[in-house]
Amino acid sequence: MLLFLNQLINGLHVGAIYALIALGYTMVYGIVRLINFAHGDILMVGAYTAVVLITMLHLPVLLVIILVLLVCVLFGVLIERVAYKPLRNSPRISSLITAIGVSMLLQNIALLVFTPTPKPYPISLSLPALQIGTLSIGSITVLTILVSAALMIVLQLFVSTTRAGKAMRAVSEDFDAAQLMGINVNNTISLTFAIGCALAGIGSLLYGLAYPSVSPTLGALPGLKAFIAAVLGGIGIIPGAMLGGLIMGLAESLTKAYISSQLSDAVVYGILIVVLLFKPSGLLGRGTREKV
């Protein structure tokens, strides 16, 4: 029972990180219908930013956290403007390939600058673990779950209540109509990328705390998993990303504990396939039918 609870909490921990990254995927997809394959690599950018700022420049941690977020946002917005915006009216697959290109580019630049040798993540957290009876929950886990939960609530409120959030929803429904209503589509899309990448920045901090080793391909696997989480929950839907992330995290940690650590990927993909077969637009997705 204790093992089970521990695995459950581990799953929530990983799942919360997946959910944070998945939010970025889902928001970008929701608004420009692009699978932003470079999103996972923003995580890597954030991690290396922390490495540079702390181990080389010795800046204080709090300032570093802010700068990491800024750098991630800057990268995200810049990538959108340079690589995706010119392709907005092209076949969607072209922007998909461009996103893959951007992802490769980021990884290879990191490889060139930082070499493939992993670097230790420079921020750590040493608080006592939370004790509930015999169950002990690590402080990083507690922090991750709380931060993620808080961010998701804030994001949901932002999108559903603020003016900018309304603009986002409008743009995601129909570019042209939104534009005719006086919404600045370009700025709204930039804002979406900015928020998504800020979440990835926070994700990189939490990921770094949990797995303190930074390499150029750091973002690839969590990126892929988060993306799958987003699809699982229904891509384009914010609560779906959270749900998907948590399911992925739980499935992964429970399979590792009870079945086999090698098969955890297979189980995760298996869940994805089963869900899509029965609910082709994801768990929370609405089925859309082409009107004849």
Binding site: Y29, S94, I97
Partner: protein, 621 residues
């Protein structure tokens, strides 16, 4: 015929030339084993890219698990040649390759069956999922060598001769000719009736189904064939490298092949060939820049997409014969030689039906959840009759069409076509049985030519198999020649012969509508359903359309049911009219009767002072 001979000769000459040069260079050692290794890698990658192009380019379905099929082929072939180690490699290799292809095709079929119900990004993700599962499972099976993989697989570059140059040349020959056969097969398949069916699904799935194409079947077919070729590529790969590790075939590998296809131009086989050669060779050329090469590679990829979003070749093919002919045409033009246009007489091929009632609905109705969209609909159409279906927007007119054509399954009542109940049938079967339709918002196969649009509709009346199409057997030749003539005849009736080779979406609006009607007629229907044929037309075009509809009735002996808001057209050509409101038939009769019916006037025409030839031409906006 002449053109074909020319094309074959040119292409074969070019192939033999390339082959002879390269194999000579390899066997003399002028190309070292490193370079010839790259050539082999290119050849295998081309098979992968061209086969993926079948699913992604021609069928238009994004698939991200192609490397998974490659791994199945690779492992199957390797396990077979390993277990047949006491047989000659010259025998075990082809068996292994073929078995690898078949095994991959089997998996393609099994995976495709559920997966192809999804569309777009969801299909991409589910294929990604299947691809990864294949990888994980191979990594965890014992007979595939587990995570360590398979090693000591016979290598083609060593197996055939103790002289590595000779063996290398044989390896090159095998990969080269297998590649040529596969490319040619996909190319000819793409130009057969089966290829047209596949492409029509990419262009417009709803219209393809309504034109009689069994879309589910063809999706699965293309997916399975692509998997088969990927399996063969896998088998070649296994015997090139000599060892296998499932990790090689992950998501990144699938993405690599997808990049090749998109960069070359989706749907362009020659584009795939060019881009694959460049993309495989480029990193090797950039080896001098060692660390920078992948940075340069990815930058080029981004720039390429930014400046040529639809790829190198778009959907076009590079063709030697075209270059040849263009040169020839240029010479003829300058010399003033003109080609004589052959005229063929029009002969109708359409059966005449004796029964007087062609189509009948009995108490037809449909509910979406709690919403009753249509109920108690009783219509009938007599042979050679033009009947109007009118009603305010949202009255359920298109819903009736959708029920008649099987797009929606009616929840009540039945549809009887020539004495046969057809509700519950799939759309393409209904089309085959004799109901063809057009759509409110035109649905053409936009990037196909006018002629090809028509030819798709002849699909159901052609017989030849995919294999006959690939090898261009005599059944292919005669049937294709036959429908070419018939399709042109049909276009002539509609006065559209001059635009036969124009791309469908380049036509002006009125002609696009006409083409859609023409395509529907090519399905050889007994009943033609026209959904707002005059929508968006100016008065002159509408008048022309009225003439066209009359021509159709006399020439093709079909019953026509048409939805239209243009009262002038409805009152002018319909013999009978049904009026629909809130999903029910509220009136029926001759145009004169309908025009006087107070209920109709109240529900539909609005005010009492509209008379029977329609004071309001567009009664509803």
């Amino acid at each position: 015929m002449n053109k074909k001979v020319k094309s074959y000769t040119l292409n074969i000459a070019a192939l033999v030339l390339i082959y002879a040069t390269l194999s000579l260079l390899i066997s003399t050692g002028a190309i070292n084993s490193y370079i010839s290794g790259i050539l082999i890698t290119i050849g295998i990658a081309i098979i992968m890219a061209v086969s993926l192009n079948l699913t992604t380019g021609l069928l238009g379905q994004l698939a991200l698990g192609h490397a998974g099929f490659m791994s199945i082929g690779a492992y199957t072939a390797a396990l077979i040649t390993k277990s047949m180690s006491d047989t000659s490699f010259a025998l075990s290799l082809p068996i292994g390759l073929l078995a690898g292809g078949l095994m991959a095709a089997l998996f393609g079929f099994i995976i495709g069956m559920p997966a192809l119900r999804l569309k777009g990004d969801y299909l991409a993700i589910i294929t990604l999922g299947f691809g990864e599962i294949i990888r994980v499972v191979i990594e965890n099976l014992s007979f595939t060598g587990g995570p360590g993989g398979l090693s000591r697989i016979t290598r083609m570059s060593r197996a055939f001769s103790s002289d590595t140059k000779v063996s290398g040349a044989i390896q090159f020959s095998i990969v080269f000719w297998v590649m040529v056969v596969i490319i040619t097969s996909i190319y000819t398949l793409g130009r057969s009736r089966h290829g047209r069916a596949i492409i029509s699904i990419r262009e417009n799935e709803v219209a393809a189904e309504a034109t009689g194409i069994p879309t589910t079947y063809y999706k699965l077919f293309a997916f399975t064939v692509a998997a088969f070729f990927a399996g063969i590529a896998g088998g070649l790969y296994a015997h090139q490298i000599g060892m296998l590790s499932a990790k090689t075939f992950g998501f990144n590998k699938s993405i690599e092949y997808l990049v090749m296809v998109v960069l070359g131009g989706m749907g362009s086989i020659t584009g795939s060939i060019i881009s694959t050669s460049v993309l495989v060779a480029l990193p090797e050329f950039l080896r001098g820049f060692s660390e920078w090469r992948l940075v340069i590679y990815s930058t080029l990829l981004i720039l390429m997409m930014l400046f040529r979003p639809s790829g190198l070749m778009g959907t076009k093919e590079f063709s030697l014969v075209r270059v040849w002919e263009d040169t020839g045409r240029f010479i003829k033009k300058t010399l003033g030689i003109k080609k004589r246009q052959a005229k063929m007489p029009y002969t109708p091929h359409y059966d005449v039906w004796e029964d007087s009632v062609v189509l009948e609905t009995r108490n037809l109705g449909i509910r979406f959840g709690g919403l009753v969209a249509a109920e108690g609909i009783n219509l009938h159409l007599n042979i050679n009759e033009i009947v109007g279906l009118i009603g305010p927007n949202g009255a359920g007119k298109t819903t009736v069409f959708n029920m008649l054509t099987g797009v929606y399954a009616p929840t009540d009542g039945e549809v009887v076509l020539l004495g046969k109940t057809i509700n519950g049938m799939s759309t393409h079967d209904i089309t085959k049985n004799g109901i063809a339709r057009t759509f409110q918002n035109i649905r053409l196969f936009k990037s196909m030519t006018v002629l090809e649009n028509i030819k798709v509709a002849f699909h159901t009346r052609m017989q030849y198999s995919p294999v006959s199409g690939i090898v261009r057997a005599s059944s292919y030749q005669t049937e294709e020649m036959g429908i070419d003539i018939r399709a042109r005849e049909l276009l002539r009736v509609f006065d559209m012969e001059d635009v036969a080779n124009a791309q469908a979406d380049s036509l002006p609006y009125g002609k696009q509508r006409k083409l859609e009607i023409c395509r529907a007629l090519a399905c050889n229907p007994k009943v033609l359903l026209l959904d707002e044929p005059a929508a968006g037309m100016n008065p002159i075009e509408t008048a022309e359309l009225m003439d066209t509809i009359k021509i159709i009735r006399t020439q093709f002996s079909v019953a026509i049911l048409l939805i239209e808001h243009d009262m002038k057209l409805v009152m002018g050509i319909c013999e009978r009219i049904y009026v629909l409101n809130y999903g029910r038939v509220i009136a029926q009769g001759t145009p004169a009767q309908i025009g006087r019916n107070p209920e109709v006037i109240a529900a539909y025409l609005g005010s009492a002072d509209n008379n029977d030839n329609g004071g309001a031409q567009h009664a509803e906006g």
